[in-house]
């Protein structure tokens, strides 16, 4: 905590903002003598009972959803390495107090801060053993600590005690996953926590991070913001080069992303470390590995870190261009397949239409260019905003290639999940998708032109492209604007349907302009009604055709949940099932309205595929980062 005093500002004194003063008695039977610190879940005071017992009183924060009943089995735990909880009380004012053992001495983060390049090995070992024993005992009792960090570990004359036991469990989920997550706890957070998994392995991971920090003085994953740190926890291999060679294997296992492959328990981690401290000779003599689960991975334990594919080769600062191209999901620009689609599709476009570019490519290019310009505009604005808020001189580092976290099951990162996106991001993603969809549409048209008899010539191909594009846009736009918000499905459907009607109108115009003149039937009663209305009330020429386009595309966008198909958090980037069903819907709708079926079917196919391919898709592991870290406003900057 560094406080700076501005001598130029008017004299302002702010007391340490503790709620209670020395000598106050908010809790019957105890007198507060002084404040100790502001801890993870509330303020901690040093107090004396009326009989003179020294205790620590923790006042839990107001916004915590504390169930006093649930704490009862944590109350009666006794272990030399755990800070005892004496009682939990609630005052008439509604405050929750935890009465616990007072421990003098220092917290582990103070100890680590006093040793910037690491603690002496003996001390590391004793602290590690103490934490492992205390939290190991908790695990045997079926309790996971969930908030293990140096700020919760105390040392007094060689005694190690872990505090804040069991409190994490009783904080409501929304509090934990909200923006209020402080940077401090994220350093020790196991990757699977982002997916809502709180097994005992999370404590092992945290102890691994603490061990790393004790040995080197630094945490393995650091960053400017909670989101960045979290991203690294999820995807980046820890840099173990600062760790003495004999400990690298131990740390590697403790910091495994996959909880199933991580060191199995606290005691095991402590044992492995102790063995590594003493066992230098084992490595040098190359004796056969001893049996047992701790060494189940065999040779891997002794493999030098540098030989493995590590994250460090990817960990370089991004330059301005890369930051510009970076999509909202936080991937590097070359990791986002949409950018490759754009490039690939661009090549395809040029390849197919090259001979005719002079003639007919003309209406296509302005459209694509226009889309590109808008997209660039949004991207530029976003980039400017991000650049302005970036702290000077601190180049952001880029997380390495994501590793498959295939054992993690994502339950709560689906299209229906509430998320917050900035308008600027929505705009950037929407326009980006719209631009890419043009390319996809053109590619389709090109393929059809070459392989099918449906498209008789260039004009038809252009028309097909336009139709597909407009249909895709009418799906992308409303979906992106309402993504992550609590909108009703029916609202989304109707909005998409209305845009579909508008798209239908645009396509009708294209039909007129390009003189494609698709043959429409006229047997469908509503179609007849609409035709009449259009020709008599609005005096529209070729009303029958317009009515057919309006009804087809309006209905087409209405019957399927397009917002789901193009949502950034959909299950798969491209779902052929979706495409198949949409195509079928297109055919059925065509039959009903008496729209030409081949056209209807193929347009359905191409628009579904284009919309999906063009839309942003965030990989499941990155969704977790967004959920936990929240979408931090660039103006807030780092914590």
């Amino acid at each position: 905590m560094h406080t700076t005093l501005d001598f130029h500002s008017p004299r302002q004194t702010t007391a340490m903002k503790f709620r209670y003063e020395p000598e106050s008695r908010p809790l019957d039977g105890y007198t507060i003598k002084r404040a100790i610190q502001r801890g993870g879940f509330g303020e901690v005071y040093f107090a004396l009972s009326d009989a003179g017992k020294e205790v620590a009183l923790k006042l839990l924060q107001d916004n915590l959803d504390v169930e006093l009943r649930g704490l009862s089995h944590c109350l009666n735990l006794k272990h030399p390495n755990l800070i005892s909880i004496f009682d939990v009380r609630q005052t008439p004012a509604g405050e929750h107090w935890v009465v616990m053992e007072y421990m003098g001495g220092q917290s582990l983060d103070q100890v680590i801060a006093a040793h910037p390049s690491g603690l002496p090995l003996e001390r590391v070992e004793s602290i590690l053993s103490g934490i492992a024993a205390g939290v190991g005992y908790l695990h045997e009792q079926g309790i996971v600590h969930r908030d293990l960090k140096p700020g919760n570990v105390f040392e007094e004359h060689g005694r190690i005690k872990v505090g804040d036991v069991g409190l994490a469990k009783f904080i409501s989920e929304s509090h934990r996953s909200g923006h209020t997550q402080s940077v401090g706890t994220v350093y020790y957070m196991a990757p699977e926590i982002a997916h809502g998994r709180y097994g005992r392995e999370v404590d092992v991971y945290a102890l691994g991070v603490i061990l790393y920090e004790m040995l080197t003085g630094k945490v393995p994953f650091d960053g400017e913001s909670t989101g960045e740190i979290l991203m690294k926890q999820l995807t980046q291999v820890p840099d173990l080069s600062a760790i003495p060679a004999k400990f690298r294997a131990v740390l590697e296992r403790a910091l495994e992303k996959d909880p199933a492959r991580r060191t199995a328990g606290m005691q095991q981690l402590a044992d492995e470390f102790r063995a590594a401290v003493q066992g230098d000779a084992v490595v040098r003599e190359a004796r056969p590995q001893p049996e047992g689960p701790a060494y189940a991975r065999g040779e891997r334990l002794n493999q030098p870190h540098a030989e493995r594919r590590g994250g460090t080769e990817w960990d370089r600062p991004r330059n301005a261009f890369e930051r510009f191209m970076e999509p909202a999901s936080g991937l590097a620009w070359y990791e986002d397949s949409r950018n490759w689609w754009m490039l690939g599709g661009g090549f395809l476009l040029v390849a197919i239409f090259a001979p005719w570019l002079f003639l007919i490519g003309i209406p296509l290019i302005p459209m694509a260019l226009f889309g590109l310009m808008i997209w660039l505009g949004f991207r530029g604005a976003l980039w400017v905003v991000k650049e302005l808020s970036r702290p000077q001189g601190a180049l952001p580092t880029h997380s390495g290639r994501a590793r498959r976290l295939n054992t993690l099951y994502v339950r709560n990162h689906v299209p229906e999940t509430d998320r917050h996106l900035r308008l600027l991001e929505r705009g950037a993603e929407a326009t980006g998708a719209m631009a890419v969809s043009v390319v996809c549409a053109a590619a389709f048209a090109g393929v059809l032109l070459v392989t099918q008899q449906l498209l008789r010539g260039m004009t038809d191909a252009v028309f097909f492209t336009v139709a597909t594009t407009l249909a895709a846009w009418s799906a992308i736009l409303p979906a992106k604007l309402m993504e992550g918000s609590n909108s009703q499905r029916i609202t989304r459907r109707i909005t998409t349907g209305i845009l579909g009607v508008m798209a239908g109108y645009g396509i009708f115009l294209a039909d007129q302009m390009l003189a494609v003149a698709l043959p429409m039937g006229s047997g469908f009663p509503p179609h007849q009604v609409l035709t009449e209305a259009l020709s008599n009330r609005f005096h529209v020429p070729d009303a029958g055709r317009m009515a057919a386009y309006l009804m087809f595309f309006g209905g087409f966008m209405l019957v399927r949940r397009w917002w789901y198909h193009v949502d950034a958090w959909r299950p798969k980037r491209l779902s052929f099932t979706t495409v198949g069903i949409t195509t079928l819907a297109g055919c059925l709708l065509s039959g009903m309205i008496e729209f030409p079926i081949e056209w209807g079917g193929l347009l359905a196919l191409s628009s579904s595929m284009s919309a999906q391919l063009a839309s942003v898709w965030v990989r499941p592991e990155y969704r977790a980062v967004e959920m936990v870290a929240g979408h931090e406003s660039p103006m807030e900057g780092a914590v």
Binding site: M1, T3, T4, L5, R11, Q12, T13, T14, A15, M16, F18, E21, P22, E23, T31, K33, R34, A35, I36, Q37, F46, L48, D50, A51, G52, E54, Y102, G104, E156, H157, G158
Partner: protein
């Protein structure tokens, strides 16, 4: 720095010789203004008895014949005393005491970073933290708890410094500046460059402190508590 207008004449009733400073985020410190500090075993008598005779209950007053710095441990009730003699500090052993490894049987002068060993188990460190002040600091090195878990004692010779740097008697790492407690008359006053407030008003210059006063500043707060003794201050050696 300040002329030490020591009141060495015993008063009946209260002396302002001993204070407890409760510092938020740091700890409790015993500040000795009088010229002598005694160290010994914490009283075994139950504080409950004291409570009955003292209805306000939670005062931290010392037992009548308990030492100023009372520790748990194998010590005599009055094991050793340290007194200030003009500019130096003199240690008087009343029981088994070693200074820097050598057993002492009579008065010795203490120097900076002297290590005291009582009964071969309790270890204390005597320090003069800064040349700017003649005050000394005493902390417990071994695993023996002082009463009220205080961090240590400051034997004042005019001033006591509180602040983030290592030269301060009471080290407060999170503070943005220093606060000085100064001996004035028979009491203590406070002064600092930091803007301080107490009792709702800003403090300026040198302000005298009274028992129970809470002083607040930027990210700091501490409370002064006078340690009362019904016993007349013995000025013998």
């Amino acid at each position: 720095m300040f002329p030490s207008l020591l009141s060495s004449s015993p008063r009946s009733g209260l002396t302002a010789g001993r204070w407890l400073v409760w510092v938020d985020g740091v700890g409790a410190w015993l500040v000795i203004v009088q010229s002598k500090l005694t160290i010994g075993r914490a009283s075994a008598d139950s504080p409950l008895l004291r409570m009955r005779s003292n209805p306000s209950g939670h005062s931290s007053s010392g037992q009548d014949d308990e030492a100023d710095l009372a520790l748990t441990g194998n010590l005599s009730r009055m094991h050793v005393s340290i007194r200030r003699d003009d500019e130096s500090f003199v240690l008087t052993p009343h029981a088994n005491v070693s200074v820097d490894g050598r057993r002492v049987s009579r008065d010795v002068l203490l120097s900076d970073r002297s290590e005291l060993m009582l009964n071969d188990s309790v270890r204390l460190l005597f320090e003069l933290t800064t040349p700017l002040s003649l005050s000394a600091r005493l902390t417990v090195l071994s695993d023996h708890r002082p009463k009220l878990s205080i961090q240590g004692a400051v034997l004042m010779a005019g001033t006591c410094l509180l602040g983030p740097g290592v030269e301060n008697h009471i080290r407060c790492p999170a503070w943005s500046g220093s606060v000085v407690l100064a001996q004035t008359g028979s009491g203590l006053s406070v002064k600092s460059r930091l803007p301080l407030r107490s009792d709702g008003r800003e403090l300026s210059g040198l302000t005298s402190l009274r028992d129970g006063q809470i002083v607040e500043g930027p990210e700091l707060r501490f409370r002064m508590e006078q340690v009362r003794s019904r016993q007349v201050d013995r000025t013998g050696s």
